[in-house]
């Protein structure tokens, strides 16, 4: 069932129930209002007649004055008026006498003969008409003299009530119809944005991420459209990054391979005659192979991180030794690039519980980046300080810096800023994940043209 049907359906249900309750209440009220009023009119007429009789006419014999009494009793009433004797015999009837039948079968007459007010609603046996009868005892000095009885047909009352009910029900149906139409129109405003969303989502699922959902209103659906569009944008960008990555990786892999192949060919054709050439060539082949290995390792690593398969082997690590060793290891490269590499670690720094190999990977990555983006005569400094709740390791360079529009993205996988074609764009992303897994944070501060500061915070 579509949303529109469900919406309209629930509108309808609510309205139908409301209207039905109101109708029942109204019809019930109207009916009881009419019946009650008819009854009340008869009762007050009967009471008035009976009390007047009791006050002024009770001295005389009832039978002798029935004709005159009937005239008075019926003067202000359209109802049928009957005067019944003490024994239950009909003495006078305003609709004309039909013999003098016994009236004792009627419950109201029975009650009135016992001195109570009798009210009876039922079917007149002879005509099968629905009637309402009110009987009042006529009291004389020596007790009950007879009964005065007012009878009205309820046919007209019933007809009137039925007519009003018909009108009410018709109005109710019209109301429900109007609400249904309005409901359909209103639900369109919701369903149309939903179907647009659906349309856009289907296009995206088919791989067309240039599709965009239209935002109609600033409501939940509007937010959903925004989210969907943002998702599509991100997927598009990731897609572009991935393509970029593949081409750059192929390029990166190809460069060392070409160089290795070239040297291999050269050395082969030279057949070891030129000793220096041989040594140079082999050294270059070695470094290029290292580069390849590192890149493949990074890629392997990364897919592992992505799948969450990496486990940390934490050991207690003395940071000052650790950082100095890394400094020594990278010193020749820095010297070759004519960059000063400084390691400034206080001996009092507490030891940390970390996976040594992983932290080394992070440090090499950061220092490698720093060296990569720093030109001649620059400097790279490595500090470690104890701070509240942990230690802080900083790698600071005086290099190119990162543009502010890039700095938010450099942690993304495959992202490379500065139009740089070197590297995989995975280094910072992996480093960030490693530090996060240690419960720490990795942040970058950078000013373009001035330098970059990578700050690792590790808890102890």
């Amino acid at each position: 069932m579509g949303i529109q049907q469900r919406l309209v359906g629930s509108y309808l249900a609510v309205i139908a129930i409301t209207v039905a309750i109101l109708e029942i209440f109204l019809i019930f009220s109207v009916k009881s209002y009419y019946y009650r009023n008819v009854e009340r009119a008869l009762v007050s007429q009967a009471e008035l007649s009976a009390s007047f009789f009791h006050q002024y006419f009770s001295a005389e014999d009832l039978e002798k004055q029935t004709e005159r009494l009937l005239k008075g009793f019926s003067q202000h009433s359209a109802a049928q008026v009957q005067i019944i004797s003490r024994s239950g015999q009909l003495l006078q009837d305003s609709t004309g006498m039909r013999g003098s039948p016994m009236m004792t079968d009627y419950p109201d007459v029975q009650e009135a003969r016992n001195g109570d007010v009798g009210i009876w609603q039922g079917r007149e046996p002879s005509t099968d008409e629905s009637v309402l009868a009110v009987s009042y005892p006529l009291q004389s000095v020596d007790g009950n003299a007879g009964v005065v009885r007012y009878v009205t047909s309820l046919t007209e009352t019933k007809k009137t009530v039925d007519r009003i009910s018909e009108i009410l029900i018709t109005v109710g149906i019209i109301v429900v119809a109007i609400v249904t139409v309005v409901g359909v129109l209103l639900s369109r405003t919701i369903t149309s944005s939903v179907s647009e969303l659906k349309f856009a989502a289907r296009k995206m699922s088919e791989g067309d991420f240039s599709a965009r959902a239209k935002k109609r209103y600033r409501d939940e659906l509007g937010t959903l459209a925004d989210t969907l569009n943002a998702m599509a944008t991100k997927i598009q960008r990731d897609e572009a990054l991935k393509n970029d990555f593949i081409s750059s990786v192929s390029h990166e892999l190809r460069t060392p391979l070409t160089s290795i192949k070239g040297w291999a060919v050269t050395l082969y054709s030279n057949r070891g005659e030129d000793r220096t050439l041989l040594e140079d060539g082999l050294r270059i082949i070695e470094t290029e192979t290292d580069r390849l290995t590192r890149m493949v390792d990074e890629l392997l690593d990364f897919s592992k991180w992505d799948n969450g398969q990496i486990e940390l082997y934490r050991v207690s690590l003395d940071l000052s030794d650790f950082l100095r060793n890394i400094g020594k290891q990278l010193a020749p490269r820095a010297a070759r690039l004519n960059i000063t590499l400084e390691v400034d670690v206080s001996d009092t720094i507490p030891s940390v519980q970390v996976d040594e190999n992983r932290l080394k990977q992070v440090m090499i990555n950061l220092i490698d980046n720093a060296l990569k983006f720093t030109s001649d005569n620059g400097s790279v400094k490595i500090f470690a300080r104890q701070v509240e709740g942990g230690v802080r390791i900083i790698v600071e360079d005086t290099g190119a810096g990162i543009a502010s529009q890039d700095i938010d993205h450099v942690f993304q996988k495959f992202y490379k800023g500065n139009g740089s074609t070197h590297g995989s764009g995975l280094g910072l992303s992996i480093s960030d994940q490693i530090i996060k897994q240690h419960g720490g944070t990795l942040t970058l501060e950078s000013r373009i043209g001035v330098g970059t500061k990578a700050i690792i915070h590790l808890p102890v």
Binding site: I24, Y33, R36, Q75
Partner: protein, 184 residues
Amino acid sequence: MRTISKLARAGFLVAALLYFSGCRMPVTPNELINPPTSELSLPENKWDEIQKLLPKGAQLVPQTLGQGNGIAFGDLDGDGIDEALIVYKENPLHGKTLKAALLKQKSAQWQIVWDTQGFGYGLDYSKIADVNRDGLPEVVLSWSLGNAGTGMDVYVWRNDTLMLQSKEEYRASPDKATVVGGIS
């Protein structure tokens, strides 16, 4: 939502039942018909004062014989100041009961000193007059049940209040009523 509507329906029915089983029925349109308040031309604007004494919404009942408007004056206790006999219908919203009241002027203030209930469809006539020719005035209230006849109550002034002296029916012809009633 279903249960709520069921509850609401039950509530409605209960409320309706309570409402209609109680005696607080709304009045019928018929009973709402009554004349606008009339400025009766009473000397010294007594009506304003008198009306304040009657229950709210009461209306004078004009007599069907002669031209009385439901107020009769006469000196009952012989102090030289006229008493007023007023026949009125109580507020139609509370049942149109006929009532009669006697008002006495005490230090220029009207006060209800006596009242009684009326009978029948209306008032034939009311008056303060000596109907039994004993030299003292009586209060006569003649209630009508249309063609069935009339009931006449005669009250005498005794011990600072009115006592019922006789209560009888009579079938009056208009001329006789005129003679007895002696329209004032």
